[in-house]
Symmetry: C2
Subunit: 373 residues, 2 copies
DNA sequence: TTGTATGCGTTATCAA
DNA sequence: TTGATAACGCATACAA
């Protein structure tokens, strides 16, 4: 793609030379004055600024010239644009929507714009219509100041492409939800979330707990490992051997998310695993678990306690109230803090890549109670 | 905001001069060859292209120079970036999410990126944190090829800002959902939606119909007028006087959306309006209406028939199935067609601003039936 | 404190 | 078909 838009009148902007002529000074005095360089006499500067204002001078109109000139000294202009790489599903999942809202809020307040770079799904979010193979041209032009990666982006080719792109590789990158080499990151404390869940169940008197995991993404695998560490910590803190009481499930990728949950629960029952509580992968998974348990005649929480994760989706009881005990994730803050850190790096206020982990909270509702047996 | 990012190594890209030196030709022969100008000899061109490839030449790296040079002849480079102006709520409403999905799909397939320019709400989407007063700098730099306006954007200052901005005003603008002067547009046929709704009710035997409208936005007001035209057409086609049978409601802006619906229905009952069917503003409004009717002891559809609009939100019956008769809007296609038209304008394939109206469809489910009285 | 000269990498005009 | 030269508008080193 080259030149020629549907454009006519090619807008001829005011130049420094024209201001200089009107002021009877040299154009580079104008250049200095407009950048409020102290070397210019106050009176001259004042006059120049007034004339520039009056003539409608806007430095952005001649940005190409500035960029060209600036190459000699190796300086860069801040574009006030960051790119957001995502899976193509943030309109459909509250989980991503909340993170996006946080990003958007901070970017808006700081006059940065977000450029979307979706992993290419069709409008239904089902069919992958194109994988990342190259970066959009705007990156090569050097018009992007930084990048934000959500979800499995860390495991895509995107980081490689970004670090390889000469026009971008000096720019900071923010990886949300999990750490990535060469990036800053904002994480949720899933280990703590796991710990809080099991501690809660142990305090209620539960011992044997089923850890129910759905089909894996790269991110899901990482998070599962974190949470299991937390589960173990809670058992150990209570003087119990996690190996004896914690029952993990094996994931079968060819099954649907629901079937994975249902099968694991059915298998556990059939094998006589004496579990009295289920830890779901997330709130959706908790819904699957309740359904699967119901089909086995098991009620929540009377027969089995159930804990979700994320706190993005309610599990409704008969009174249409959310009954799900779950781990609340500060997803909006993940977005907010991610944006803040990235913009700090871009502005040079933060020198090094920085990683922070945000605390999570266990919300106790009705889906957990003392064990029946 | 001026220079100096957090950047170090200032990436020194290959220039045409360097290629020319290696090939023993003049740099402007290289310039012509790289743009595959027929004036350069085939053999020379081939050699130059090979060397450029080998040296890793990328025209995008020196885009600033190209833009500067191109100013003389008044040409413009296509940036492959369009701006999306929106209300800050498309992550929270399926209505907007579907339009966005359509936009995103087409942009992805055509290698265009979307730059988000939200009307500035905070992360909860509640508090307006900043109104549009100026365009982001990227517009003044001339790095945007076109703009898309959703929802009330048409009535904001945005069109004014766009048409006033010298670096943008020659670019095409797409207004979605309603027409706007100086813009292309993609609309839904709300008049037809209104017509189909009333025709369906009349065919079932209904006569007196309550038209229930919630608090108004500019867009809402426009759409309401369209639909009322359709209602009238259906009555007239049946040889009935709409003035006698169509009962519009007065909106009270200080009431919530639910209260507006509930009050109107209560008032109509109290005043003895013999309505047997309700036309809601949208599916959410239909939910409100069912609730308000239930509080008056009226069941849907036995006592009152109910029709929604949009087909974005189910009204669940006891079996958790969607029972709502509603007008399905092709929202994804609004996004798709909007993007296609805009990109066509940008590429110069479409010369004039174009307006299209997409057909809607009445989906008959369980919320409508013959009148009881 | 201000003016002069040069370069940034490209495109375009005009000769050769 | 190719080469020389002049913009494009700004920043900067250096001279005045």
């Amino acid at each position: 793609m080259t030149e020629q838009g549907a454009n006519q009148q090619p807008h001829k902007p005011v130049t420094m030379q024209e201001i200089a002529d009107r002021c009877g000074v040299n154009k580079n005095t104008v250049s200095l004055a407009l950048r409020s360089d102290p070397r210019v006499a106050v009176a001259t500067a004042h006059r120049i600024l007034a004339v520039a204002e009056e003539m409608g001078y806007n430095p952005l109109y001649n940005d190409a010239a500035r960029r060209l000139a600036l190459r000699k000294s190796g300086k860069r202009i801040i574009n006030q644009v960051v790119a957001l790489f995502y899976e193509g599903n943030f309109t459909h999942h509250r989980y991503y929507a909340e993170i996006f809202d946080g990003l958007s809020e901070v970017c808006t307040l700081t006059d940065f714009q977000i450029l979307l770079v979706p992993r290419s799904f069709d409008a239904q979010g089902k069919r992958l219509i194109r994988e990342f193979k190259t970066l959009p041209p705007i990156f090569s032009r050097g018009d992007i100041d930084g990048a934000i990666l959500i979800d499995d982006m860390r495991f895509s080719k995107v980081p490689h492409l970004l670090f390889r792109e000469p026009s971008f590789r000096a720019c900071p990158v923010m990886s949300l939800l999990w750490p990535a080499p060469g990036c800053s990151s904002v994480l949720t404390d899933d280990e703590q979330g796991g710990y809080l869940s099991v501690r809660h169940l142990l305090a209620l008197g539960h011992r044997h707990i089923l850890h129910c995991w759905g089909p894996e993404s790269h991110l899901g695998h990482y998070l599962a490992k974190q949470r299991v560490l937390g589960y173990r910590r809670a058992y150990q803190e209570a003087g119990l051997d996690p190996e004896q009481y914690l029952h993990a499930t094996v994931v079968e990728p060819y099954l649907s998310a629901y079937e994975n949950v249902a099968r694991r629960i059915q298998d556990a029952c059939r094998q006589g695993v004496p579990f009295t509580a289920v830890l779901a992968q997330n709130d959706t998974g908790a819904g699957y678990a309740r359904q699967a348990l119901a089909e086995l005649g098991l009620r929540v929480p009377q027969d089995v306690s159930l804990i979700g994760f994320d706190d993005t989706e309610p599990l409704l009881d008969d009174a249409r109230q959310n009954m799900l005990t779950t781990v609340h994730l500060p997803l909006v803050d993940v977005g907010r803090e991610g944006a803040k850190l990235l913009l700090g790096r871009i502005r040079g206020e933060i020198a090094e890549d920085t990683s922070i982990t945000l605390p999570v909270e266990l919300i106790v509702r009705g889906s957990t109670g003392p064990p029946a047996r």
